[in-house]
């Protein structure tokens, strides 16, 4: 064992995927994300080995209704982080752009890169499109792993774009330390995010397309709505900001607000609290999966047969579970 562990010194040995990712190999990173998506049995061990390299990135979720300009905004924000803003030096950026899988075919068109053309050719940027793939284990699991891969590869800022419509997407947003909810004018009088119930998870609210008529109205109704919620003493007050992602107007200010929120999370202890909460939810989910798997492998009981009995009213679900655990 010990001798094997020394072998990284051997120049003839092929570097492992873990070592290549740690060394900033983009191809290795792309491969790992694919393995995560495919539920490759080796992916968990690779992620495990990379774990100590994670936890450094600033992770930001960007969500909102389709067409509000999320991808354009993500590209503009990435540009702002790459250049650096008034108080902050340039940072590298990893982007995960998640689009829904077609429920009919299982395929997907992932079109977010169209808006991210200006970032091409920059080695400090890595963009990966992901389909939601109605996977077992949930979408949030796969994106969470992909974020850890980007983090381990050294990307300092990670932007995750999701369409804020389904529960899965809201869950992903909820998992990120800083959540930006994007609105835009011209989608009717009503506020889209309110319908989806994602307004309350916003750490920063953005009215994008500030160049369009109706932006002020949208801005004012969002401010009024937040006002209704009332300030929570000296905690974080969700700011409402206007951006024109298409021209970059207001985007540096948004990048600064993201830095401010990160500083707030750090100084108030809220960041550590959220991280612990997230880790606990994650561990609980993993335990649930593993315990079920262990039970399934060791069990002589037939789940389908038990289900038939319950459905036929031959026994109650309560009795069935007792029986299955014997």
């Amino acid at each position: 064992m010990r001798r094997e562990r020394r072998s990284p010194g051997n120049p003839l040995r092929m570097p492992t995927l873990t070592e290549r990712i740690a060394a900033g190999d983009r191809r290795a990173l792309a491969t790992l994300i694919s393995r995560i998506e495919k539920h490759d049995p080796e992916a968990p061990a690779i992620l495990g080995a990379l774990h100590e390299r994670t936890g450094r990135a600033m992770v930001v979720g960007i969500t909102g209704a389709p067409g509000t300009g999320k991808s354009t905004l993500v590209a503009a924000l990435a540009g702002a982080f790459r250049r650096g803003t008034a108080g902050h030096p340039p940072r590298t950026v990893g982007i995960l752009a998640v689009d829904p899988t077609s429920p009919f075919s299982g395929g997907a068109i992932l079109g977010d890169r169209i808006r991210m053309r200006d970032l091409a050719g920059d080695e400090g940027v890595f963009i990966r499109s992901m389909a939601s793939r109605g996977r077992l284990g949930g979408l949030s699991h796969a994106t969470d792993s992909a974020v850890r891969a980007l983090d381990a590869a050294g990307f300092e800022t990670i932007l995750i774009e999701t369409v804020g419509v389904g529960q899965d997407e809201v869950d992903i947003a909820r998992q990120t330390p800083t959540v930006i909810v994007v609105e835009s004018p011209g989608t009717g009088d009503d506020i889209q995010a309110l319908k989806a119930g994602i307004l309350e998870i916003a750490d920063i609210l953005v009215v994008n397309k500030a160049d369009m008529p109706g932006a002020d109205t949208t801005f004012e109704s969002l401010c009024a709505m937040l006002g209704l919620g009332g300030g929570e003493g000296d905690g974080w007050k969700t700011p409402v900001m206007k951006t024109t992602a298409a021209t970059g107007e207001g985007v540096d200010a948004l990048a600064e607000a993201i830095h401010r929120h990160r500083a707030y999370l750090r100084e108030s202890g809220e960041g550590r609290r959220r991280e612990r909460e997230r880790a606990e939810a994650d561990l609980r989910e993993r335990l649930r999966e593993r315990l079920f798997e262990r039970w399934r492998q060791s069990g002589r009981m037939d789940l389908a047969e038990m289900a038939r009995k319950v459905a036929a009213r031959e026994c109650s679900p309560e009795e069935a579970v007792e029986e299955l655990l014997k």
């Binding site: 792309a30 491969t31 539920h39 075919s105 395929g107 997907a108 068109i109 992932l110 963009i127």
Partner: protein, 136 residues
């Protein structure tokens, strides 16, 4: 299902105008159960190869109407080789004179499809290239 998911990058290199054909193909591939990364107009060979690497695609579909395939395609193929992506299959669609097809194939292109090719043929060619049987 996810274990055999085919990921395809659709790109429109060169400066010519519209991407209607590329969009039709993208939708057909989605409807055939593939994941299509659509990158849009005016992609340079460098952008295409970089995107293929980051997205870890199995297939690249290039749509070219401008007549610039003679310079663009060999550059894409060379960049893919330089990045170690020779395993990625490249298909070309658009207006390509028959006499140019042998050169494109020689540079490593897996298939060339003119206007009016049924999308089902493209789907089948991609599945065959990936060793995935046609369902049904």
């Amino acid at each position: 299902m996810t274990a055999t998911m085919i990921r395809v990058l659709i790109a429109k290199p060169g400066l010519d105008g519209h991407d209607r054909g590329a969009k039709v193909v993208a939708r057909a591939l989605r409807d055939a159960g593939m994941e299509v990364i659509y990158t849009g107009l005016r992609q340079t060979p460098e952008m295409i190869a970089d995107a293929a690497l980051q997205e870890d695609v199995d297939v690249i579909g290039l749509s070219i109407l401008s007549g610039a395939h003679g310079t663009l395609i060999p550059r894409v193929m060379r960049l893919l080789r330089e990045k170690g992506l020779e395993r990625v299959k490249v298909f070309v669609g658009g207006i390509i004179p028959d006499s140019d097809i042998p050169d494109l194939k020689a540079s490593g292109v897996a298939g060339v499809y003119g206007p009016g090719t049924p999308t089902a043929d493209v789907v089948k060619a991609i599945r065959d290239a990936q060793g995935t049987p046609q369902p049904g």
